[in-house]
Subunit: 165 residues, 2 copies
Protein backbone atom coordinates (compact mmCIF):
# COMPACT_ATOMS: atom_id res chain seq x y z
CA UNK A 1 0.00 0.00 0.00
CA UNK A 2 0.99 3.61 -0.54
CA UNK A 3 2.46 5.60 2.27
CA UNK A 4 0.06 8.27 3.40
CA UNK A 5 1.98 9.22 6.51
CA UNK A 6 2.29 12.79 5.42
CA UNK A 7 -1.41 13.05 6.00
CA UNK A 8 -0.80 12.87 9.71
CA UNK A 9 0.81 16.26 9.37
CA UNK A 10 -2.59 17.67 8.70
CA UNK A 11 -3.66 17.71 12.31
CA UNK A 12 -4.59 21.26 13.09
CA UNK A 13 -1.42 22.29 14.87
CA UNK A 14 0.84 21.05 12.11
CA UNK A 15 2.06 24.33 10.74
CA UNK A 16 2.23 23.18 7.16
CA UNK A 17 1.97 25.56 4.25
CA UNK A 18 -1.71 25.30 3.68
CA UNK A 19 -1.81 27.57 0.68
CA UNK A 20 0.48 25.18 -1.07
CA UNK A 21 -1.55 22.26 0.17
CA UNK A 22 -4.68 23.70 -1.49
CA UNK A 23 -2.84 24.57 -4.67
CA UNK A 24 -1.60 21.02 -5.02
CA UNK A 25 -5.08 19.66 -4.45
CA UNK A 26 -6.56 21.97 -7.08
CA UNK A 27 -3.93 21.06 -9.61
CA UNK A 28 -4.52 17.38 -8.98
CA UNK A 29 -8.24 17.93 -9.35
CA UNK A 30 -7.82 19.64 -12.68
CA UNK A 31 -5.65 16.89 -14.04
CA UNK A 32 -7.95 14.21 -12.74
CA UNK A 33 -11.01 15.83 -14.28
CA UNK A 34 -9.26 16.31 -17.57
CA UNK A 35 -8.19 12.69 -17.65
CA UNK A 36 -11.75 11.62 -16.99
CA UNK A 37 -13.28 14.09 -19.43
CA UNK A 38 -15.47 15.64 -16.80
CA UNK A 39 -15.73 19.37 -16.33
CA UNK A 40 -14.22 21.11 -13.34
CA UNK A 41 -16.21 24.27 -13.92
CA UNK A 42 -15.50 27.55 -12.14
CA UNK A 43 -18.24 26.92 -9.62
CA UNK A 44 -17.01 23.43 -8.83
CA UNK A 45 -13.43 24.58 -8.58
CA UNK A 46 -14.29 27.45 -6.29
CA UNK A 47 -16.32 25.19 -4.04
CA UNK A 48 -13.49 22.69 -3.92
CA UNK A 49 -11.22 25.53 -2.82
CA UNK A 50 -13.66 26.55 -0.12
CA UNK A 51 -13.83 23.00 1.20
CA UNK A 52 -10.04 22.90 1.23
CA UNK A 53 -9.81 26.21 3.06
CA UNK A 54 -8.98 24.35 6.24
CA UNK A 55 -8.46 20.84 7.45
CA UNK A 56 -11.67 21.22 9.35
CA UNK A 57 -14.68 19.66 7.72
CA UNK A 58 -17.00 22.39 6.47
CA UNK A 59 -20.75 22.32 6.27
CA UNK A 60 -22.60 22.87 3.01
CA UNK A 61 -24.11 26.04 4.39
CA UNK A 62 -20.70 27.37 5.41
CA UNK A 63 -19.68 27.02 1.80
CA UNK A 64 -22.96 28.57 0.76
CA UNK A 65 -22.52 31.66 2.88
CA UNK A 66 -18.95 32.25 1.73
CA UNK A 67 -20.08 31.85 -1.83
CA UNK A 68 -22.96 34.27 -1.30
CA UNK A 69 -20.56 36.83 0.13
CA UNK A 70 -18.28 36.75 -2.84
CA UNK A 71 -20.70 36.13 -5.69
CA UNK A 72 -24.04 37.48 -4.51
CA UNK A 73 -27.09 35.46 -3.71
CA UNK A 74 -26.52 31.74 -4.10
CA UNK A 75 -29.03 28.97 -3.49
CA UNK A 76 -28.43 25.64 -1.76
CA UNK A 77 -28.71 23.49 -4.91
CA UNK A 78 -25.69 25.26 -6.38
CA UNK A 79 -23.59 24.08 -3.50
CA UNK A 80 -25.03 20.61 -3.18
CA UNK A 81 -24.64 19.93 -6.87
CA UNK A 82 -21.00 20.86 -6.76
CA UNK A 83 -20.46 18.83 -3.60
CA UNK A 84 -22.14 15.84 -5.23
CA UNK A 85 -19.90 16.17 -8.24
CA UNK A 86 -16.80 16.43 -6.08
CA UNK A 87 -17.87 13.42 -4.03
CA UNK A 88 -18.48 11.39 -7.17
CA UNK A 89 -15.03 12.24 -8.45
CA UNK A 90 -13.49 11.41 -5.09
CA UNK A 91 -12.17 14.94 -4.67
CA UNK A 92 -13.81 15.40 -1.30
CA UNK A 93 -15.19 13.18 1.44
CA UNK A 94 -18.32 13.54 3.46
CA UNK A 95 -17.99 13.19 7.22
CA UNK A 96 -21.25 11.58 8.22
CA UNK A 97 -20.98 12.25 11.90
CA UNK A 98 -20.66 15.98 11.23
CA UNK A 99 -22.75 16.46 8.09
CA UNK A 100 -19.69 18.12 6.68
CA UNK A 101 -17.19 17.84 3.89
CA UNK A 102 -13.43 17.72 3.69
CA UNK A 103 -10.92 17.68 0.86
CA UNK A 104 -9.35 14.42 -0.20
CA UNK A 105 -5.59 14.53 -0.48
CA UNK A 106 -5.21 11.56 -2.82
CA UNK A 107 -8.28 11.41 -5.02
CA UNK A 108 -6.84 8.80 -7.31
CA UNK A 109 -6.37 6.24 -4.55
CA UNK A 110 -8.95 3.94 -3.04
CA UNK A 111 -11.61 5.56 -1.01
CA UNK A 112 -11.89 3.38 2.03
CA UNK A 113 -10.37 5.87 4.40
CA UNK A 114 -10.42 6.38 8.11
CA UNK A 115 -11.04 9.81 9.57
CA UNK A 116 -9.56 10.91 12.85
CA UNK A 117 -11.60 13.84 14.05
CA UNK A 118 -10.61 15.93 17.02
CA UNK A 119 -13.37 16.63 19.50
CA UNK A 120 -11.42 19.63 20.75
CA UNK A 121 -10.26 21.57 17.71
CA UNK A 122 -12.46 19.95 15.09
CA UNK A 123 -9.70 19.07 12.66
CA UNK A 124 -9.97 15.91 10.62
CA UNK A 125 -7.16 13.76 9.25
CA UNK A 126 -7.65 11.07 6.68
CA UNK A 127 -5.53 7.99 7.03
CA UNK A 128 -5.44 4.57 5.44
CA UNK A 129 -4.54 1.23 6.88
CA UNK A 130 -4.37 -2.07 5.15
CA UNK A 131 -4.82 -4.06 8.35
CA UNK A 132 -8.08 -2.31 9.15
CA UNK A 133 -9.35 -2.69 5.59
CA UNK A 134 -8.55 -6.37 5.66
CA UNK A 135 -10.12 -6.97 9.05
CA UNK A 136 -13.36 -5.34 7.95
CA UNK A 137 -13.47 -7.24 4.68
CA UNK A 138 -12.81 -10.51 6.45
CA UNK A 139 -15.53 -9.93 8.99
CA UNK A 140 -18.09 -8.94 6.39
CA UNK A 141 -17.18 -11.83 4.18
CA UNK A 142 -17.46 -14.31 7.05
CA UNK A 143 -21.01 -13.15 7.57
CA UNK A 144 -21.87 -13.39 3.90
CA UNK A 145 -22.17 -9.63 3.55
CA UNK A 146 -20.91 -7.98 0.36
CA UNK A 147 -19.49 -4.53 1.16
CA UNK A 148 -19.92 -1.62 -1.23
CA UNK A 149 -19.01 1.51 0.69
CA UNK A 150 -18.00 2.25 4.22
CA UNK A 151 -17.79 4.98 6.79
CA UNK A 152 -15.13 4.90 9.46
CA UNK A 153 -14.87 7.92 11.69
CA UNK A 154 -12.99 8.01 14.96
CA UNK A 155 -13.64 10.92 17.28
CA UNK A 156 -11.11 11.77 19.93
CA UNK A 157 -8.26 14.11 20.77
CA UNK A 158 -5.61 14.87 18.19
CA UNK A 159 -1.89 14.95 19.10
CA UNK A 160 -1.75 18.74 18.95
CA UNK A 161 -4.60 19.13 21.41
CA UNK A 162 -3.09 16.57 23.77
CA UNK A 163 0.19 18.47 23.95
CA UNK A 164 -0.57 22.13 23.51
CA UNK A 165 2.49 24.35 23.12
Amino acid sequence: MKNFDTVSLSFCGGSHDHGRCVKTALKAAEELCQSRSVRLTDARKRILELVWDSHHPVGAYDVLSKLSQESGKTAPPTVYRALDFLLEQGLIHRIESLNAYVGCAHPTEDHAGLFLICNNCGCAAEVHDETIDQAILTKASNLGFRPEQRTLEVRGICPDCQNPQ
Copy 2:
Protein backbone atom coordinates in the same frame (compact mmCIF):
# COMPACT_ATOMS: atom_id res chain seq x y z
CA MET B 1 -14.33 -11.42 23.59
CA LYS B 2 -17.99 -12.32 23.75
CA ASN B 3 -19.61 -14.22 20.96
CA PHE B 4 -22.11 -12.05 19.17
CA ASP B 5 -22.60 -14.36 16.24
CA THR B 6 -26.28 -14.65 16.92
CA VAL B 7 -26.52 -11.05 15.83
CA SER B 8 -25.86 -12.14 12.29
CA LEU B 9 -29.29 -13.74 12.42
CA SER B 10 -30.77 -10.31 12.42
CA PHE B 11 -30.37 -9.76 8.72
CA CYS B 12 -33.79 -9.02 7.37
CA GLY B 13 -34.56 -12.42 5.92
CA GLY B 14 -33.71 -14.29 9.08
CA SER B 15 -37.18 -15.32 10.19
CA HIS B 16 -36.53 -14.96 13.86
CA ASP B 17 -39.26 -14.33 16.37
CA HIS B 18 -39.07 -10.60 16.44
CA GLY B 19 -41.72 -10.12 19.09
CA ARG B 20 -39.60 -12.11 21.44
CA CYS B 21 -36.53 -10.21 20.32
CA VAL B 22 -38.14 -6.91 21.32
CA LYS B 23 -39.43 -8.30 24.59
CA THR B 24 -35.96 -9.44 25.56
CA ALA B 25 -34.51 -6.06 24.69
CA LEU B 26 -37.13 -4.25 26.76
CA LYS B 27 -36.58 -6.49 29.73
CA ALA B 28 -32.84 -5.95 29.50
CA ALA B 29 -33.40 -2.21 29.26
CA GLU B 30 -35.54 -2.19 32.39
CA GLU B 31 -33.00 -4.13 34.37
CA LEU B 32 -30.16 -1.99 33.13
CA CYS B 33 -31.94 1.25 34.00
CA GLN B 34 -32.86 -0.05 37.42
CA SER B 35 -29.28 -1.05 38.09
CA ARG B 36 -28.11 2.40 37.08
CA SER B 37 -30.84 4.24 38.94
CA VAL B 38 -32.05 6.00 35.84
CA ARG B 39 -35.69 6.10 34.88
CA LEU B 40 -37.03 4.19 31.93
CA THR B 41 -40.24 6.22 31.81
CA ASP B 42 -43.28 5.25 29.76
CA ALA B 43 -42.31 7.61 26.97
CA ARG B 44 -38.75 6.32 26.82
CA LYS B 45 -39.88 2.74 26.94
CA ARG B 46 -42.44 3.25 24.20
CA ILE B 47 -39.88 4.97 21.99
CA LEU B 48 -37.41 2.19 22.60
CA GLU B 49 -40.11 -0.26 21.48
CA LEU B 50 -40.76 1.77 18.36
CA VAL B 51 -37.07 1.78 17.50
CA TRP B 52 -36.99 -1.96 18.03
CA ASP B 53 -40.02 -2.50 15.82
CA SER B 54 -37.77 -3.76 13.07
CA HIS B 55 -34.14 -4.38 12.41
CA HIS B 56 -34.26 -1.48 10.05
CA PRO B 57 -32.93 1.76 11.42
CA VAL B 58 -35.80 4.19 11.97
CA GLY B 59 -35.74 7.94 11.65
CA ALA B 60 -36.67 10.22 14.52
CA TYR B 61 -39.62 11.50 12.54
CA ASP B 62 -40.84 7.97 11.86
CA VAL B 63 -40.96 7.46 15.59
CA LEU B 64 -42.60 10.84 15.94
CA SER B 65 -45.41 10.08 13.54
CA LYS B 66 -46.18 6.71 15.09
CA LEU B 67 -46.20 8.32 18.48
CA SER B 68 -48.50 11.07 17.24
CA GLN B 69 -50.89 8.48 15.86
CA GLU B 70 -51.22 6.64 19.11
CA SER B 71 -50.92 9.45 21.63
CA GLY B 72 -52.09 12.57 19.84
CA LYS B 73 -49.95 15.49 18.88
CA THR B 74 -46.32 15.04 19.80
CA ALA B 75 -43.47 17.46 19.20
CA PRO B 76 -39.94 16.65 18.02
CA PRO B 77 -38.20 17.38 21.32
CA THR B 78 -40.17 14.59 22.98
CA VAL B 79 -38.67 12.10 20.58
CA TYR B 80 -35.17 13.53 20.52
CA ARG B 81 -34.96 13.66 24.28
CA ALA B 82 -35.92 10.04 24.57
CA LEU B 83 -33.51 9.07 21.81
CA ASP B 84 -30.72 10.98 23.54
CA PHE B 85 -31.45 9.21 26.77
CA LEU B 86 -31.45 5.82 25.06
CA LEU B 87 -28.21 6.63 23.28
CA GLU B 88 -26.57 7.69 26.54
CA GLN B 89 -27.61 4.45 28.17
CA GLY B 90 -26.37 2.46 25.20
CA LEU B 91 -29.83 1.06 24.51
CA ILE B 92 -29.85 2.20 20.91
CA HIS B 93 -27.29 3.19 18.33
CA ARG B 94 -27.36 6.01 15.87
CA ILE B 95 -26.57 5.18 12.27
CA GLU B 96 -24.81 8.29 11.05
CA SER B 97 -25.01 7.49 7.38
CA LEU B 98 -28.79 7.22 7.60
CA ASN B 99 -29.66 9.73 10.32
CA ALA B 100 -31.51 6.89 11.94
CA TYR B 101 -31.59 4.80 15.07
CA VAL B 102 -31.53 1.09 15.79
CA GLY B 103 -31.86 -1.00 18.95
CA CYS B 104 -28.77 -2.35 20.60
CA ALA B 105 -28.96 -6.05 21.40
CA HIS B 106 -26.32 -6.06 24.12
CA PRO B 107 -26.41 -2.71 25.86
CA THR B 108 -24.12 -3.76 28.66
CA GLU B 109 -21.23 -4.58 26.37
CA ASP B 110 -18.76 -2.21 24.81
CA HIS B 111 -20.10 0.12 22.22
CA ALA B 112 -17.54 0.03 19.49
CA GLY B 113 -19.71 -1.84 17.05
CA LEU B 114 -19.72 -2.31 13.33
CA PHE B 115 -22.93 -1.96 11.38
CA LEU B 116 -23.57 -3.89 8.23
CA ILE B 117 -26.32 -2.07 6.39
CA CYS B 118 -28.01 -3.52 3.35
CA ASN B 119 -28.38 -1.13 0.44
CA ASN B 120 -31.18 -3.27 -0.91
CA CYS B 121 -33.52 -4.06 1.99
CA GLY B 122 -32.26 -1.49 4.47
CA CYS B 123 -31.70 -3.89 7.34
CA ALA B 124 -28.83 -3.26 9.71
CA ALA B 125 -26.88 -5.83 11.70
CA GLU B 126 -24.55 -4.95 14.52
CA VAL B 127 -21.45 -7.05 14.84
CA HIS B 128 -18.27 -6.87 16.86
CA ASP B 129 -14.78 -7.87 16.03
CA GLU B 130 -11.73 -7.75 18.19
CA THR B 131 -9.34 -7.68 15.25
CA ILE B 132 -10.95 -4.60 13.79
CA ASP B 133 -11.07 -2.85 17.16
CA GLN B 134 -7.41 -3.60 17.70
CA ALA B 135 -6.36 -2.48 14.23
CA ILE B 136 -8.13 0.85 14.66
CA LEU B 137 -6.68 1.43 18.11
CA THR B 138 -3.22 0.60 16.90
CA LYS B 139 -3.44 2.95 13.96
CA ALA B 140 -4.79 5.80 16.04
CA SER B 141 -2.23 5.27 18.73
CA ASN B 142 0.62 5.20 16.22
CA LEU B 143 -0.47 8.64 15.06
CA GLY B 144 -0.74 9.98 18.59
CA PHE B 145 -4.50 10.25 18.39
CA ARG B 146 -6.55 9.37 21.47
CA PRO B 147 -9.86 7.80 20.41
CA GLU B 148 -13.06 8.47 22.30
CA GLN B 149 -15.91 7.24 20.12
CA ARG B 150 -16.16 5.78 16.71
CA THR B 151 -18.52 5.16 13.84
CA LEU B 152 -18.06 2.18 11.58
CA GLU B 153 -20.76 1.57 9.02
CA VAL B 154 -20.42 -0.73 6.06
CA ARG B 155 -22.99 -0.44 3.31
CA GLY B 156 -23.48 -3.32 0.94
CA ILE B 157 -25.70 -6.29 0.21
CA CYS B 158 -26.78 -8.62 2.99
CA PRO B 159 -26.75 -12.41 2.58
CA ASP B 160 -30.52 -12.60 2.27
CA CYS B 161 -30.60 -10.12 -0.59
CA GLN B 162 -27.74 -11.86 -2.37
CA ASN B 163 -29.59 -15.18 -2.34
CA PRO B 164 -33.28 -14.44 -2.51
CA GLN B 165 -35.52 -17.45 -1.97
